[in-house]
Amino acid sequence: MKPLDLNDAQWQAVSHQGSHLMIVAGPGTGKTHTITYRIVRFINELNVGAGLRPALNDVRVGLEPTPTDQRILAITFTNKAAKELQERLEAKLPEFWRLATVGTFHRFALGLLREFSDATPLPKDFQIALPEEISALLEEIFPKKTTLERKETLERISLIKATQLVIDPDSDYQTYHRFLRAKNWIDFDDILRETLLLLENEEILAKVQERYRYIFVDEYQDVNLIQNTLLKTLVSEGVLLTVIGDPNQSIYGFRGSQVKFFTRFEEDFPGAAKLYLTENYRSKSNLLSASSQVIAKSPSTDVPEIIAKIFDEGRLVIHEAATDRAEAEYVVHQIEQMVGGVSMLSLDSHRVSSYNQAQRSFGDIAILYRLNAQKNVVMGALDHLGIPYSVSAKSKIKKEELEGVTQETKDEILLQQHEEFVDYNVEKVSLLTMHAAKGLEFPVVFMIGCEEKLLPLNLDTMKGDSEEERRLFYVGMTRAKEQLFLTRAGRRQLYGQTFFNAPSMFLSDIQEDLKAYENSKIRKKINKSKASDNQQLKLF
């Protein structure tokens, strides 16, 4: 029977049987929700096969999980997404959720490499090289290259590894590979490549295939050739694959992801069915219209239009500031108003009017940017008012941290190294790159730097694919539930250069009647002169 919290399309996706399935799910259409239910369904079927009662909505204590070795494999794009999915499964199936192996491609693959280490050509105690170890190694191999050149070489090698099954002759790659192995190391990309080699062993492959009869892959629009090949290897007769994703949100082309694997799913996995989730439960209707208008200009897609299920209107504000500093001031002032003032001074100085009831707290708000280099000005403005914020950043793992920990813990830490991590223990404004914002949602979103040269990215040193940049813009916009601010600066300092940027071309794709233009109303900057200092003191 259809649970009440699923709509018809979601229920269809949950209950689909008998073939591979591709679910095309736009932003806010309940992707994780649907996939959770579908996994729950399969776990129950496993249990029935093993002679246990279905466990859906049925908490029983003391029963052993299914005695067979059969499991469900659910692959997520990030460790964070894996954790969320795991928590949702645990809530629904407190006893049996462990029948699903949830993790990233890399986590799953590394597990196999460790489990079947005897069958790999790798030494038994191989280690994943730390970033600092790789840097040192590159310095040793390429002493004549600059740091930047070495970084570029590494990125190129990584791209090669993600996109080529048979690697073209490339001297840098070969040298690097030889040195790496001499140290008993593999790098992050090698985890998947070595697993492909391992699965050439038919006995092991058969074991793995027997174990995972149901496979799920989230964010399928962002898989690369190696991941696609790995899936084709795993999915044999009788194994059912479900993938979910949104080609409009494919934003990792620069890392080797290819949206073509999404579009040719039915060729890779014959007999596959295709279903669409189109009802959006996240964003206010006008915000959804605006983001739909932006993505509609992208020629790549056969995704049906997303339909708003939240009918009232949110705020879509366009703000143009003179400089990047003024832009940051504007953003911070908006935040100050939304939380109804952050100090007595906010109120007594009338920066925030006293009849503004606090509507938001810091955790409701995100500031998104294209480049990390844009964030410093915003951080300065937030610091000025003492507003707490967290910045997404890749964790920098130090060698010392890993001393004395078990191999398992070490692998665990290293698997997370490529993820931008945000600390959510306390409420803070989230500062995120648009890439890091993928999969998240916030009541209020500021997208700063909506300018040509940044969106689409088009600097002398860095260029993005313009269609992918459009999708990135779309990903950013669709994070917002209620309020979306698209801001830009007429003059911007970046990497020591001054830019005078025109508005981003994406802004003009949004219909005028959806946009509210707002100018800065901030009074003279606080704390500027001695006179105003004295004025403030009188208020206390």
Binding site: G340, S343, F362, L385, G386, V426, E427, Q536
Partner: protein, 428 residues
């Protein structure tokens, strides 16, 4: 011994505070005012804490004194009549802004610590979850209850005191950002709170009207943002001069160490009445009710002040006393009385000169306001000032109540009254 304590102040590292707020000025002004225990404020701020560790040394259990080499140069400036010992206590105020029960809450809380070790532990923990560098009173997206937990974990002898609990915007029971019940704010840890700060806009009489405040002893502090505002409110103790004696006096229901408090006239506080400052609408809560809470000028909801908020939550008639009640005395800062007597502003040169003159010849401000014989004041400061202080002691003053961030305005003398007083007295 009997001593005065002001345990909520800020340093120069808090936003919008005087650049003079350093240890030397606190040491000086504490003696001007007659305060023996003064809070350091802001101990979570890394630069300030370093300064505290450098300039202070242990003096009695859990309290600190300014090292001689820093105190000596100041001593010369202090009138002999005011000189007294000054002890510092490690204090900080935290601004908690967070969502709880679906509403945005903004609560200010005080933490008092018995040692640098305890202070550093709190600093380390808060530093790991938020920005403690840009404001001496840091803003954290942390639940008040969780802050309390951190406080108790750092050292069980730390004290946690909800600050100015009635302030509309930033307090545990405030109308705009607070809760209706202390339990909603501090949940399972509520029993670990044993004192609350009344704030300038409320006095004990108002607080006693809430049964839910019975478990708490009421404390009063200045929340000074400049040294001269020290002691606007203060606590009077009569016990051993140590942190643990203060802890006992506040936490132990049977301890009589806290004698009472010095209070602002609550009408003088910035949020006593309701209204809109920009619209010049100042309303008694009754008027607010008659207008359905909407400003008659701009039509938006008025800022609901402390008086109305107390009324809304009160469950006793006025006049009842709370379980842990102490006597209290309303005071007016001496410069205001002098200014009122001379019909000039309290910050004017004439007032400053008279202020120092009185400190030189009579004693500290608290002594003058509370204990000095009126004839002695008259001899030094003249008839009108003496009459002003005497009226203050009797509570015989008129105050147009403060509202929406505007301090109340004081009227001790009616027009023409000042000359009359001088003439009358001249007859004797």
């Amino acid at each position: 011994m009997k001593f005065y304590a002001d345990l909520h102040i800020h340093s120069k590292y808090s936003r919008a505070t005087s650049k003079d707020l350093d240890l030397e000025h606190l040491y000086l002004w504490a003696q001007y005012k007659g305060i023996q225990v003064v809070g350091t404020g802001d101990f979570v701020h890394p630069v300030w804490l370093k300064e505290l560790e450098e300039k202070l040394e242990p003096a009695g259990e859990g309290l600190f004194s300014l090292k001689d080499k820093y105190a000596k140069p100041i001593d010369a400036k202090i009138p002999h009549a005011c000189r007294g010992l000054v002890r510092f206590m490690l204090t900080v105020e935290i601004s908690n802004i967070y969502k709880r029960l679906d509403k945005v809450r903004k609560v200010h809380n005080l933490i008092w610590a018995p040692s640098f070790e305890a202070a550093r532990k709190i600093q380390a923990k808060l530093g790991s979850i938020g920005n403690i560098n840009s404001d001496g009173r840091p803003i954290l997206g942390l639940d008040s209850r969780d802050l309390l937990e951190i406080t108790l974990e750092a050292d069980p002898k730390n004290m946690f005191v909800p600050a100015h609990i009635w302030t509309p915007w930033f307090s545990a029971l405030g109308s705009m950002g607070g809760f209706d019940r202390m339990e909603d704010c501090f949940a399972d840890l509520t029993p670990h709170v044993f004192a609350v700060e009344t704030g300038l806009s409320s006095d004990p009489l108002m607080n006693w009207r809430l049964k839910q405040l019975d478990p708490y002893i009421l404390v009063s502090n200045s929340d000074a943002h400049s040294p001269s505002k020290l002691g606007r409110e203060a606590n009077i103790f009569d016990t051993e001069l140590s942190y643990s004696a203060i802890y006992r006096a506040l936490s132990d229901e049977n301890d009589k160490g806290l004698v009472g408090t010095l209070e602002f006239f609550p009408e003088e506080g910035k949020y006593h009445y309701d209204g809109h400052r920009l619209c010049h609408v100042r309303w008694h809560p009754k008027q607010t009710m008659e207008n359905n809470g909407l400003c008659s000028r701009c039509g938006k909801p008025v800022t609901v002040g402390v008086m109305a908020r107390v009324e809304a939550l009160a469950d006793r008639i006025e006049g009842t006393k709370g379980r842990r009640h102490r006597p209290y005395w309303n005071i007016i800062p001496l410069p205001e009385i002098i200014g009122e007597a001379k019909s000039v502003g309290p910050a004017s040169k004439a007032v400053q000169a008279m202020y120092l003159n009185m400190l030189n010849h009579i004693g500290s401000e608290f002594y003058i306001l509370q204990d000095a014989p009126v004839f002695e004041i008259r001899a030094v400061a003249g008839d009108v000032i003496a009459e002003g202080i005497s009226r203050m002691r009797k509570g015989d003053v008129k105050i147009a109540a403060g509202y929406d961030g505007e301090f109340g305005t004081l009227e001790i003398f009616k027009d023409g009254e000042r000359q009359k007083i001088e003439k009358q007295l001249a007859l004797f």
